[in-house]
Symmetry: C2
Subunit: 199 residues, 2 copies
């Protein structure tokens, strides 16, 4: 075709909103979608709307849920005195996959980034402080990412939470398990040295 | 969350059908979609269904169209005696962008690939032969890709079309314009030498 057909151009523009999808990828996807069986396209469209409509934030920890309270908060087998603070729902999923944690979570939905206009009021920090007042919590583990924004968020949270008399900890940074010393970046290696433990 | 929520898992499976989207990318997209404004998700879903429902193949050249006949076939300003045979609708778009061609097209919708079970009957070759009988065509330019399947398709088409007394040509292969000799692959360089022209 000479000029891009209307519906194809619209679809390309809509697909470009997705992360990591530029103009060319969007067009490639659009062509593929036109070639897909109608039934598959319909069920993809339905899945998009269903996910958006059925999934909301847990009223307590702000993780994703399709109910009112997420399955983790509703689980009486979890240790309710320990709270792990993460940036995103994906981080909860990653922590759960590690099977190393049996407490509850609190999802901030971002990290402090003044340059992008993300201050403490844009994160679920108010809600975290409220939980600390109403729930019986002894320890808060800060598991934000180890980039600049994550570290700043961790430092900010620590400064807020320590005066409350809570045990506040930060997840460890060091060499990834199975990682080669030779290929570790300098910052990770420096952190691993700094955080060394007696054997 | 512990296990992936139902609507999120469904969306991930649906997104995985798209080309170049694996399990991890699909999940990343799904999380992003849950975070998008509802209105945007709805219009993406609507654009998917609209593109699939409104776009069909041109009855004459099998390029994409939202009508019965595509804009190129319907354009009386195009030279109707020349036919350019390409593999995909995307190739028509690429040819049109080059502004180097003013004839009509014929889209095969694939290339011969016996290992994948794609024989001549799976391509729009019957329809091409029918066009050659009913339309006044003098030259057929074969512009399939220059990979193994595209070359095999070109050779097969040439063997079918030449006996009909048509002028059959193949687009040239050589160094890309602006390309460095130093970085050209061997096969392209060999082709460029073989197809050299007197100056």
């Amino acid at each position: 075709m000479g000029r891009l057909l209307g519906p194809l151009a619209t679809l390309r523009e809509e697909l470009r909103r997705l992360p990591g999808v530029g103009s060319k990828t969007a067009l490639r996807l659009a062509y593929h979608i036109v070639d897909m069986p109608t039934e598959q396209v319909r069920s993809l469209a339905a899945a998009l709307v269903a996910a958006k409509e059925q999934i909301r934030y847990c009223r307590r920890c702000f993780d994703l849920t399709d109910g009112d309270i997420c399955p983790l908060c509703a689980n009486p087998g979890r240790e309710s005195s320990c709270l792990c603070v993460v940036e995103q729902p994906q981080d909860v999923a990653a922590m759960e996959r590690s099977k190393g944690y049996n407490g509850l979570y609190h999802v901030l939905h971002g990290s402090l980034s003044p340059l992008d206009g993300v201050g403490p009021d844009k994160l679920r920090i108010k809600e975290l402080l409220l939980r600390l007042q109403t729930e019986q919590i002894d320890e808060v583990i800060i598991a934000t990412n180890s980039d600049v924004e994550g570290e700043a968020t961790a430092a900010y949270l620590a400064s807020l939470l320590k005066p409350l008399g809570l045990k506040v900890s930060r997840i460890a940074h060091g060499l990834p398990v199975g990682g080669d010393l030779e290929y570790a970046d300098e910052v990770t290696l420096a952190k691993a040295l700094e955080n060394r433990r007696e054997m």
